[in-house]
Point group: C2
């Protein structure tokens, strides 16, 4: 029996401190970098743009030569050439001169602005400037985008498409990332059966068997996180000895192990017995969270063994709001979660000292976003995850929220 | 020169109507289904739960036998056995009887409620009930989660972790999905160079060359969408003939082609010439959107050729807010975008008839989320994407938003 439940934040703190995992560093090509975690800061080796360049099609000029220009006072400038990527560096323009220039092309020497095509009238080798331009008008300055030394990526940051683009822009074709954290999942329960098209579901279920769905939920969620490499070891019965054999092997092969099922408060509390059998130390035994309060953690050789409920919703919530924060905190990985502020359609209450997670359905109500809390019970009901698109967290120091309150919803 | 710009919504409508792509259907295992698009509705072949079952550890009873029970009036019931997955179906309980039961186990015949362990006092083969329970208390009813015929997945829906879990729960190990849409990317520009660790970036850039970054941005973004299979064909110079040769081949191999670069309003408008050369019909020539107004589309054999800017931000915005919506609309794919309502820190203005996309930086300001608009210019500046974490869309019928207004921000 669990007698004292650890507060969620304390549990995360405690577990992240005892985790001692060293992830190797590997080099990956840019296209394989997406979703991975940077192992080192990366800075730009050069100025981007590498020179002042035109951002429009027009004429490179000396800004001062255009001062006072207007449709009623067109100022003539002599066209002395055309700057493209091959020729731009050859030109140098003096007073009264202009060079035709294209988007992206370096500004010729002597020029300090570009006047747009539509602001001049061209006549043979002369343009008549109709509009004054300021210094560096229509020019992108050297280093304006990413100066040399600019930090493109920070150690611990998850690599997004724009990071990849920025790395490419400075000529890099690889990036150093942490190896993925290998996460072994073990499903516990005498009644659990792997789904298969060769089985008649009605017949299987009528015998008191249950198809394993929780491990699919966790595997799929883990696969969405680029720093994890999840593997399902398999399904094992309620025998502590069998379970401990599997855990012993998994802890050799993986950086972390997750078990689901076998954590009930009654006689089926077999997983805790099993982790003790392998010599690991139980560091968290029950967390004051709903759902998921049977969640426990043991540590062996610095590697955490997370013991989660077999119920899909309870396991999912514990995985997302406890396992992942514990791992990212221990490893120094920056995690970004997406929130929406939404108006609660009805009151939700918390239990003293507990962190409660309420599935909500977000919808547009007029010009606002509303959040309809779904049943807070039913942690065995997968359909409530299909229905919901967000999670409202009630921290352990909050008694609840009133109807109409604007509350942060984490998007699923 | 582009003379008339099509409104964004009209452009999406027009393009989605002329697209005529048939995606094949393929079967994938559950673990490969994540992010893919369901090709057919999937319904549950059975009731989940398949029977009334206990959601706690306790005693299966007849609710009526507990009526009136309290600590001062404990009601005795005779324990006639213990229900687990193997034995539950054998029991039938009568008046005055109770059966010990575990979480998830089917309710024995005759029982219609479960009383929790903590609400009884056990003495040898008798329990004393201290609390009355209602009919079906602590029981999950047959079909309560997913009744037979329940729609787990709809055709066109993107498959999320909970869909996979629900499919597994009803015993399915595969799902029919649409084949991925093959998207060929072609980078156009004489000055474009593939990034490589064997090149000195300072030297390359000083010669007026530019490293290809836009195609990485689009490839990475496309890879995040499970319905796409993006491929980079390569980099080709500004010659319409060369470009058309590449497009001719790409259109055979892919369902859709994207070109970046070579769409400038000046002489470098080589891609439109090239698509005409391959015999395709230009259906959109310029869109009233900022950035990205040179965006154009041609169609050949029902396959769209999207011509995007070479500038990373302009290409990204056009890809995300025009290409993807056009394709998903044509294919009947349900796309879900994540929004946050945030308070604008300063005024943003729109241009009449244009849809403007403003990069914003979201941050917490007190108990609210604030959105700081970043420069709306600089579509060549990748660093603005690194800085921003959301996009504010100003639709073409809105003049702008005031400082302090609550506006929807699409999360990046």
């Amino acid at each position: 029996m669990i007698t004292e439940f650890c507060r969620l934040n304390d549990a995360i703190e405690r577990v992240s401190k005892v985790i001692n995992i060293q992830l190797n560093i590997e080099r990956v090509s840019l296209l394989n970098a997406i979703g991975r975690v940077a192992a080192k800061d990366v800075t730009s080796p050069c100025d981007i743009p590498p020179y002042d360049r035109s951002v429009v099609d027009g004429y490179a000029v000396r800004a001062e030569d255009t001062y006072g220009a207007s449709p009623s006072n067109p100022l003539p400038l002599r066209i002395v050439g055309e700057a493209n990527f091959d020729t731009a560096f050859r030109y140098s323009i003096g007073p009264g001169e202009a060079v035709r220039i294209h988007t992206g092309v370096p500004l010729p020497k002597g020029a300090n602005a570009v006047i747009m095509l539509e602001d001049v009238v061209e006549d043979k080798s002369t343009i008549y400037v109709m509009k004054s331009v300021g210094v560096y008008a229509n020019v992108s300055r050297r280093g304006e985008d990413m100066p040399k030394g600019f930090t493109i990526l920070k150690r611990g940051q998850t690599i997004e498409p724009w990071h990849v683009a920025a790395l490419a822009a400075v000529g890099l074709d690889e990036v150093e990332v942490f190896e993925r954290l290998r996460l072994c999942l073990l499903t516990v329960g005498d009644e659990i059966v792997e789904p298969s098209k060769n089985l008649d579901p009605v017949e299987v279920l009528s015998k008191g068997k249950v198809f394993s769905s929780t491990h699919y939920l966790l595997l799929c969620e883990a696969k969405r996180l680029g720093f994890l490499e999840p593997v399902h070891i398999g399904i094992v019965g309620d025998s502590p000895h069998q379970i401990s054999n599997h855990i012993r092997q998994a802890i050799e092969e993986c950086h972390s192990v997750i078990t689901t099922g076998g954590t009930g408060p009654g006689q089926r509390d077999v997983v805790v017995k099993a982790v003790k059998e392998v010599g690991s130390e139980v560091v968290v035994r029950g967390i004051a969270m709903r759902p998921g309060r049977t969640t426990s953690v043991a540590v062996l050789k610095g590697k955490p063994i997370f013991m989660l409920s077999g119920f899909p919703v309870a396991a999912y919530i514990a995985f997302r709001f406890f396992v992942i924060p514990s791992l990212t905190k221990a490893l120094g990985i920056t995690e970004s979660r997406n929130y929406v502020y939404a108006k609660l359609t009805r009151r939700v209450v918390n239990r003293a000292g507990y962190t409660t997670f309420v599935r909500v359905k977000l919808f547009n109500c007029g010009t606002e976003v509303c959040a309809e809390p779904l049943a807070s019970t039913g942690s065995g009901l997968i359909s409530t995850l299909l229905e919901s698109n967000g999670i409202l967290k009630l921290p352990d120091d909050i008694e609840g929220y009133e109807a109409g309150e604007l509350v942060p919803i984490e998007l699923l």
